[in-house]
Structure formats: C-alpha cells, structure tokens
Amino acid sequence: MEKAELARRLAEIIGSEYVSGDPDTLFIYSHDMTENEPSEPDLVVMPDSVEEVQSIVRLANEQRIPLTPFVAGANVGGLAIPREGGIVVDLKRMKRILEVNEDNMYVIIEPGVTFGHLRACLDNEHPRFRYAYPLSPPYTSVMCNALLDGLTNLSTKHGDMSEWINSLEVVLPTGEVVNIGAAAASKYWFGRAPLPDLAGLFISWQGTTGIVTKMAVQICPKYKYRKRMFVMAYDIDSFFAFVRRCAWTQLYDDIAGFSWPAAKMMVARRVKLTRDPDEPELGAYLDFSGDTKKEMEFKEAMVRDIIKELKDKGIELEPPLLVDDLVKINPDYLKLAEFPTTLDFLIDYGGGGFTWVGSYGPMSKSEEGTKKLFAVMEKYGFPPFLVTRPMKGAHYQVLRFIAPFDKSDQEQVKKVRELCREMAESLLDLGFIPYKAPPWAAELILKRADPNWVKLLKTIKNTLDPNRIMNPGKWGL
C-alpha cells in the first residue's frame, strides 16, 4: 500500500491530526538515546482507545505492515526503533488510570501512565498506598517497565516488575482483544493464578506478540515510617558481603548499590571521572519502612549490627549515614531521598548518548562479574559505572553497567557498541542474562540458549503473529 493511501486509511481510524509522516517526526522516532542504529518509520500514529489500536492492528495485519509500539520516549536498547519501518504506534495519549482498587490492592492503567502520574494519583487520592519507582526519569511508562522485566526500588523485596502484573488486556497481532490473568474469568483483576499463566506470552517479548492496552498492577500499603541510609564500602568484596548479608535478612525494601562514578557525577557534577585516593569504591543505600517506631529502630539497629559483625571479620565499611544527614552536607543528595527523581546528575554527560548493559543473574557471581566488567569498561576508557541490587529477597542479582557517551562522535559510538557487546558476552559467560536486550544482545542470548527454547519461542511468535508485523527484528524474530 502506498504511504499516502496508508496515511489516509489511518486518518479514517484516528483522525488526521494523529497521523504523521513529517520528516522531523520520523527522524525523532527513528532514534533512542542509546548506541543502537536509527531506523525510520513510514508513519507515526497516536491512538486514544483500544478500539483504535485494534483497527490499526487489523489494517497493518491485512497489509503486512510492521508495527512498533512506543510510549513515553525515553527509550533504550533500540526496542522502540522501527527496524523494518512501517508504523510507530505511539500510545502516550492512552494515559488513563482506570481504576484504583484499594480493597484488592491493584490499579488498572493504560500504557501512557507514567510513574510520576501514578505517584501523584496515589499520593493525592489514595494515600495509604504506594507503587514502586525505578531509577529512571519520572515520566517513563509504568506498563513498559513491567512488561520489560524492569526493576524498581521495591525489587529487592518483590522482584522484577513483571511480578507485579495481575492482568492484561492485549490486542493480538491479528486484531482480537484478549484478557489475560484473572481478568479472563473474573471482573476483579486480582492476580494471575490459578489460571495457566498466559501473561508470559507478552512479558519481555518486547512488543513482538501484541499491544497491551490495559494492565492491572499491584499496589502496596504505604507504611507510616520510611528511612533511607547510605553505607560506603572500600572494595567490591566488602560491598557485596554487606549487601548479601543485609539482603538475606529479607527485612529491607531496597538495597541498591552504585559505584563511585555515580556518586561523583551527583555530588561533584564531574564528567571527566577519576577515583580519588582513599575514596570508597561502592556505596549502598538501604530503604526500610514500617508502621511503628520500634520496627524502624530494629531495622536500623540491624544494619549497624551487620556492619559491626562484618568489621569483626575484617571487612571495611563506613558507618551508615541517613539521607537527612547527607542532605545537610550537600542538598544534591535530596535527589536520592525520594523516587521518582530527576536523574540530571546521571545523564548530563554532554554528548546526548546514554546506554547500559543490564543483566539478571546468580548472586554468587556478583563480585566476579563486577570486577570483570569494571576491567572491560576501563579497557575501553569508560569509568566503572555500576548500579546493582539483590532482587526478590536475594534470589538473584542485577548488575547494570552504564556508559554515557557522545552521540555526535561516530568514533565514540563505535567504541561504545564494542564495549556493550563485550560486556554482554562477559556477563553471559558468567551466567547472567541481559534484560531489555537490544537486538544485538538478543542474538547473543539466542546463540547460547537451549535450541528447543528458541524453537518454542519462534513457534509461539508465528502462531500469534503469522504475518510478522509486531516489532520485527527484536528477539531475532
């Protein structure tokens, strides 16, 4: 179908003001902030309802036109770059919080709902509840984060955010709308059990199996008290010894770690980063909450006990600092006091490029992975920039290595591509698996994966999307 005719047909569905083939718009939707190659769509559309999404999908399926879902715009991994052109379906107009069910502790949201908006809704209208917030800009999509196995400040306790999904409404690549989870058989979207868990057909599939138009996610009680404290460690082994010990108590909401470049970027606003002598190599922040002062005192005392216990074993750690005290030293620490937060200190590198290789893997390999990857980063001339946390009560660990870079410098873009590939390979060697895997990383995973798993993946994809219209090029599909 000619582009003009396609635009006309799409305009019939959603109105011409929400269909664009403008060169500038296509240029913007062809990039993300990472090193992944840009690729232009033919058109961008902005539906406002599930019916409109359905009609767009039916038209695309009939005409064999690729569709790439897109929401807030702060995209990574090339996941929303339309590798084979076609139509980018920008879902940000669908931004309604449809239901907040306090009794059953879930909210039903549309794709365009961001962490900031959910936070405002809960704080203003449902103050007994909270959701979890990632270390990302405040206007990223709650739904995308959950669908892509993202993590947040409650992941140490509860695991990656796909575990918070109760139910889904999905437009399948052939245009049918299907309810998944409890929503399939109950008017309450309370969970995924006890039905066969079909949510797995859409989680981490990177939009290759359909467009999710509604999602119920769990919300948690918001406790009366909450504290955040920082503990600094002088070397990688000490840091992970401390993190592991705290995580195994399963008392803390969050135990997130960061390496010295992150602290330096925040406090000193430095871009050219060198570690000062005697500077701690890694720091951790611990969040804990409770309904009574006694509970809080116990959790705080426990951290101090753990530090003492480890010190007695010769492990060097700084005494804990409460975020309130740090703010007195430097108000910039306020940015780490509450989420969602602005991440200006992390992203003001100067070249408009920002990428990372994030991976989930065995906690037992955290030290080795960190040391190995720091060496890789230094080899390529990048500071050893890590964000890490134990996940789901210490059942696995996330290691995320971050590389800000200058996107206008093609040599640096090339270098960062090589760096990311080598980091991903190293992590896979250790048993970690990249999450939100860019197409090039997905290829590495597929090469090592069980061939029957890959075959099953393809069978499922072909069954759901026989005309291969949904976000082609991702997961090697």
Partner: protein
Amino acid sequence: MLDYEEAKTWFYRCLRCGTCKYIFGLYLPSCPAGEMFSFESYYSSGKLWIGRGLAEGKLSFADPSLLQKLYACTTCGSCQVQCSLPVGEHSVDIFEALRAEAVRQGYGPMPGQKHLLESIKNYDNPWVQPRQARERWARGLEIKDLSKEKARVLYYVGCTAELDPQLHQIARSTVEILQRAGVDFGWLGREEVCCGSVAMRLGDREDFRRLAENNIERFNELGVETIITSCAGCYKTITQDYPSVGKINAEVVHSSQFVQRLLQQKKLSFKKKVELTLTYHDPCHLGRHREVYDEPRQVLQSIKGINFVEMRRTRENSWCCGGGGGVRAGFPDFAQETAILRIKEAEEVGAEGVVSTCPFCFQNIAGGIAAANSPLKMIDLTEIVSRAIR
C-alpha cells in the same frame, strides 16, 4: 540570545528523558505544544532533536512541517524550568535561534505570522496601525510628552496596550496610579516604537536589532531615571534581550513592580474595598523569564476585600496563556485551547476573575473566556489597583 552556531553546541545535550514534559512533583502537563499536538517533535526535547537533524543535514528548514514544530511553541519556558540539565537553561534561546536561522534562510515565520513582521517594518508596531493611533487611548488625559519636556520616569506603554481598544484601560489605569502617587512621568506618544519582542520571538533578528538600537538611543536621550512597562513582553525584551545590543542608562521596571514600590514608599494606599475572589496568572515573560512572582501578588493581597486564591499551576510552574511566541497569530486554535485550559484551572479554585500583568495574556485569556462562555472576568492588575485607590 544565542546565534545558530552557538545553539548547535546544545543539540547533543538532550537525551529525551521527558522531564521537560511535566511539572515535577505535581505531574501536570508543562508544555502547551506537546499537550495540544502530542507528537514527540512538539516538545522541547523534540525541538532539540530537530536541531540535531538539521545539524546532520537530515532535516531542512525548507520543510513547512518542520517550521510548524518550531513555531507552534509559545516560548513560555516551562520546559526550561522542568529540565534539570544545563541545556534546559537555554531551551527558549535555542528555539529562538532555530527560528532566526529559519528566517535568515528565507523560510520563517509561519504564513499567519508574516504580517506581524511586515507591520513592524512599516508602522513600528505589529498591529498594522498608523503611528498616530498610539495616542487614542490617552484622549482627555494630561501626560507629559517627553519629546518636548523632561520627566524622571518614562511610561513605555507598549504596542498592545496602546493599540488594542479592549486594553486601553490598562494604560489609563496605569496613568491614574502614577498621577495619584505624584510620580513625575511622561510618555512618547506617537513617537513610541515597538520594543522588538515580536520580531525577536519570530526570528527576525535584523528588525529586532533596528528597534532595539533605536529605543536604546531614544531612552538614553530622554535622560530618565526609570522606565516603566505595562507589558511583560516589553519588560522581558528590554531587560533580557537589549543588553546584547546596548546599555540603557535607566532602570527598567514592570508596572507591577513599580506599584509595589509605591505602596512600600507609602505614596499609594488602598482606600476602597474590592470584594472579589481573584487568582493571578503569571505571564511567562514576567514570571519564568524574569522571575517576577512576588510583587504582583503582594499588590493584590494588599487590597482589602480581595479573596486571593492560587491555581494549581502557579509561579514558575504556571500554565502558559497560549498567546506568546507568535502562537496567537500563527495558530489561533492552539492559542485558544491553551487559554481555555488555564480558564478551567481558575474556575476550579473558585475565582471570579483572573488578574494578569501582560496585555498579551489579557487578550488571549479574554478570548478564551469568551470562547468557553466562562463567567470569569479578565482583569489587569492596574485596573484593580486603580479601583482600590479611588
């Protein structure tokens, strides 16, 4: 003010994190263009990425759809407040540099805006009015003509308050206040020329410079100590953009600041109660661009009987009226929709009237009130003050 080459150095400083799109903490929309047109390209980050495309030769100013993105922006600067990266501090300057380059290459501004620039060239005002029309509002008033006699203060009325009959009351009220306070002031009458704000916002740097040079020379010849503006746009332009052209040997204040000063000096006092529930709309050019937030509020709150209420988005987080940056001329529907959102916000807090300190905001919000059939009244701060001092 940035030139295009300087602006280019900022194109690669935005990741498109999206923080510019909403007001942090309130999580309400901050960008009128993004809210109206929705596509990424209309937001601040989108325009910066358009800059990348232009710098890389992948996009061209010759493309009318690209011009639409550059000009469908009220230059309100809300993105500038929300963005916490260094590039954010320069967003509006960057957008204006892009517009200036579009004009330099012969493509900008938008068709609906070109008559404004032609009018400035022909009549020294953007409203296609003869020069003598500037004197109409002052009929019956006795004001010193500074082209003939001296005074300590110049009242620089501004094209919009002078030439839009709906807004003559702003100028008349200002004169009443100054006279009541015994201020030694005068004006330029038909010899006043546009401050150049419209030319600057639309990218006609050549004409802006002509007007600025002319005004700076004239202001300095007058030997006044103080220049008062009624218009937030004039105030921003003279205080923020003129320094790159030349130095003015007088302080420049907005009328709201001057009235507050008169109150502090006890040269003015409020005798009459004004029994109204009022809210204050921060003009972008006075608030976000020049950080004048307190004085208008202090004046309003000094008047007995006024029940002052704040809207949800206020001060640096204010929602733009929708009229600035050439949007009212170039995109009237967008300007009106944006004003109506502001009107709804004022209604939500129970206001009977919206007070502002900018004739441009007045025009656009008044238009929105009429279109929305709202019971709200649009009022300039000086009108309220003049009621209270009688």
